[in-house]
């Protein structure tokens, strides 16, 4: 809570090396007993058909500020030791990695809950927009009501995981 938390945020077109990133996070928080991470990948099948490419647009400046704010909220709710956030932008092929959210803490519950929390907030508050391109043409991905719902559960269950 009050201890300084290792925090690194990147918004980049390049792919990332998950193994190296987790290694770096562990090295930066050697007291950690638990590391949890989420990796989001481009699915090769969209609602409309086979997907060739996903283009992610974002709002430079606001994106970084939003991710920073999300990380700070997680630090206020859980005793985290480290956070690593990476979100890619630009053109991505099917199966490409999109996002990495990684947390370290002394015990597993904080790392699990904070990782899920940050993903739920990222999905609803960070200014990224996905466009899918495939044999169906191109279309902007619609926001999912279930993502908004997931975020609201955290607001209800203050400090608890959603049910």
């Amino acid at each position: 809570m009050s201890a300084p938390v290792y925090l690194k945020i990147s918004v980049q077109p390049e792919d990332f090396d998950t193994g190296a990133e987790l290694q770096q996070l562990k090295a930066a928080t050697p007291q950690a007993g638990a590391l949890v991470n989420f990796i989001g990948m481009v699915r090769d099948l969209s609602a409309d058909g086979k997907l060739d490419e996903m283009v992610i647009e974002h709002y430079p400046g606001m994106t970084e500020a939003a991710l920073q704010r999300i990380a700070e909220q997680a630090c206020q709710r859980w005793p985290l030791l480290g956070i690593r956030l990476i979100h890619r932008v630009g053109s991505l092929a099917a199966q490409a990695q999109i996002v990495l959210v990684a947390t370290t803490s002394l015990h597993r519950q904080a790392a699990f809950e904070a990782c899920a929390f940050m993903m739920d907030y990222l999905k609803t508050e960070a200014p990224f927009w996905k466009k899918e391109i495939g044999d169906f043409g191109e279309r902007w991905v619609e926001a999912r009501a279930t993502d908004e719902h997931a975020k609201q559960q955290w607001q209800k269950n203050n400090g608890k995981s959603p049910t």
């Binding site: 709002y59 606001m62 939003a66 999109i98 990222l122 960070a126 200014p127 902007w140 619609e142 926001a143």
Partner: protein, 85 residues
């Protein structure tokens, strides 16, 4: 009052450009007032802000609701609900 407006994603494609500097008439101080004022530009704008799609707004990189007020030099952004992650 002079502000900069940015447009993103589907909304950028509808208005057909990504940013503009505008001088607001006296009395246009909130996001909702700005939306109404932009709607007078024509059918495209009317549909955009009064249609069924939700338009989110940010002032200086912070998500705000329709009642938020703007200041001289602010960067205002309009965009659809976000879909990252």
């Amino acid at each position: 009052m002079k502000i900069t407006i940015l447009y993103f994603a589907r909304i950028k494609e509808v208005v057909n450009y990504s940013s503009e500097d505008v001088v607001l008439p006296e009395g246009i101080e909130t996001i909702i007032a700005l939306k109404s004022w932009l709607s007078t530009r024509g059918e495209t704008w009317q549909k955009l802000f009064n249609g069924s799609g939700v338009v989110r707004a940010a002032i200086n990189h912070e998500l705000v609701d329709d009642m938020a007020t703007m200041d001289e030099g602010d960067e205002v952004a309009f965009f659809p609900p976000v879909t990252g992650g």
